[in-house]
Structure formats: structure tokens, C-alpha cells
Amino acid sequence: MAVEKPRAIIRRTLLTDNQVLRAILGICSSLAVTNTMKNSLVMGLGLSFVTGLSSLTLSALRSVIPHRVRMLVQTLVISAYVIFVDLLLKAYLPDISKQLGPYVGLIITNCIIMGRAEAYAQSNPPIPAMIDGLFAGLGYTGVLLIISLIREILGFGTVFGMKVAFEGFVPWTIMIMPPAAFFIIGSIIWAISARQAKQAAKQAR
């Protein structure tokens, strides 16, 4: 089987089928932390780290993992990396670790990781699998950052905690509350699928 070139993997995971938007995977645990950009960034990087390394590990082990317990092994490996990230955050970024709270642990159930392990790492060599996982995670980070950029600017008038709003700006409190996250991600998906529908129609003609 032909092995994809790293550049092709990166382009595919970041641009053509960005994991969150295309497959609507992995929305779960992370929307809650998108009310500030800093939390989104740390969460996204943590997730990319876990996706990359677990894809690498699972791909390296792919010929020795018994098929029957595949899912169990995947979960074990992913949990181990998540625990490692959790310890890392507790040791070096205690403030953020506290704010993210249980949501770090919930990276385990993030569908992206399992999705990459099942769809790619299982049938590809370790290095491409790692690149695939890492960039799937980074694409996801990008989406989280876009959502949190909108929420933070409108909700607090800040970007990464720095004030950008003009004097007299009244923060939109709703932006920091859960409903806004749903509206924003809904609108982003809407915009993208509307564009794709238009392109498809153009090609059909």
C-alpha cells in the first residue's frame, strides 16, 4: 500500500477534511472550555499531543494487538497519555489545570483520538500515523480557537486576556454562557456546508 507523504497528510487533515467540521467528531468535551482563548489553546495542544502519540503507539503495535481487544487497547493507551498530559499541566501550568478541571480527563472520550486510531493508525506505519494524529489535533485546536476568539472578544472584550475593545464596550454576557458556543459552531458548520453545496452545484453543471 502506498504511504502518504507527510505534506499530503498535513494538507488533508488541516484543510480538506478538518476533523471537527467535516466529521463533527470530538465536539464533546471541549466546547465548555472555549470561553477563553488561553484555555482553548492549552486544551487543543494537549489533545494534539495525545492524538499524535497515541496514533504513533497504536500504529507501532498494530501487528501485535489482538483484534478482539483492539478497542480496549486503544482506550488504555489513550488514557495513559491523557494522564501524562494531566500530570504535565498540574506540574507546569497549575492555574490552567485547575480551570480545565475534569475536562482534561475527558480528552479520553474525545472521539477524534479514537477516530484517528481506528481510521488511520490501524492500517498505516507509525510516522505517518503520528503526523496524521498530530495535525488532526491541530486542526481541531484551530476550530476551538476560532470559537473562543469570537466568544472572548464579544464576551469579555479581550483576546488572550488582553483588552482590545473600545471604551464603553458592553460585554455580551451570553457569549460566555453555553448557548453561544452552540450558536457559533452551528453557524460555522452552516457556512462551510453552504459553500460546499454551492461548489458541488457548480461542478455538476
Binding site: 478497542m71 488514557s79 494522564i83 454562557m177 453555553p178 453557524s187
Partner: protein, 197 residues
Amino acid sequence: MAPNISPLIIFLASIITSNMILSNFLGMCSYLSVSGEYRTATGLGMAVTLVLVLTTAINWLVYQYVILPLELVYLQYIIFIMVIAALVQILEMGMDRFTPDLHAKLGIFLPLITVNCAILGVTLFMVIRSYNFVQSLLFGLGSGLGWWLAINMLAAIREKMAKVKLPPGIRGPALSFIITGIMAMAFVGFSGIFTIQ
């Protein structure tokens, strides 16, 4: 030390004011993908509620009597997820053997549940908030019912929307998200409906 909060309040709050989906964003994957049809949504809601109650009970016992005495707190994620996976597996086999009717109805949903963030989420929240056994059990039950309520509402609305003419591109997940946003906004209005103490 368990916080001094009435289990009943935890139960109500986890259904209404802090719904797993509408304010904690947990369990979104299956919520979005299995909400196309009201009947299947009901089945999944039931299965999630059942598994939530059982896993909170078992994970509570495991935490108190295995993890804490052996000082394995740093391994808790791995232990909890394994308990959940094992429980779901056993439940599926047990159902298949003893209640084939129920298995036919709920069985197909069980594999989806292991990776449902709401299940692990409830366990982690319960541990972090150091609830006692009764509080945990009602928190699990309430969260399950709240999740069930949310998916049923979305499924009902989506069934109605199926016949409506909509702008291009909105049909599918985008619409589900926007509907959920409106529901979440309505649910914010519930906060303050009951008082503690």
C-alpha cells in the same frame, strides 16, 4: 468530606439547570448522530440513564475502596474508563442472555456508550465534588434523565423540521447545533427556580 447539599437538589439541578448537554457539553457525539428519530433517541436515552446510574455506583465504590486506599488517584482516569467499558460489555452480554427483548431494544446502543463523554464526565464530577454515595447516585440518575430529556427534545424538533423548507446548507449538524443553542438558552432561564436549604 461530602458537601452539605441535599441529594434532591443535586438531582433536580443535574436535570434542569446544569444539564449534561445544554450546559456541560457532555455526550455530544451520540446526541448529534442518534437524534434523527424520536424512537431511537428514546432508546439511547434509556440506555445512557441505565449505564450512568450503574457506573456512578460502581465507580464510587471503586474510588472509595480501591483507588483511595491504594493511593492510585493519578491512575483514576484509566481505572474509571476500564470500569465503564467492562460494565457496558457485561451489561450487553447479560441482556442478550436474560432479556432478549430489552437487548433488541437497547443492545445496539450499548457500544456507543463507552465513549460517551457524559458517562466518564459524571464519574469525574462526582469524584472532584466528593459526593457521598446517595448524592452520587442521584447525580448519576439526574444527569441521565437530563441527557435523555435533551436528546428527546432535539429528536422531536428535528422530526418536525424534516418537513420544513430551509436555507441551503443548514440542514444536518448545523441545524442541530442551533436548535440546541436555543434550548440551552431556554434552560438558562430555569436557574433560580429552586433554592438550596
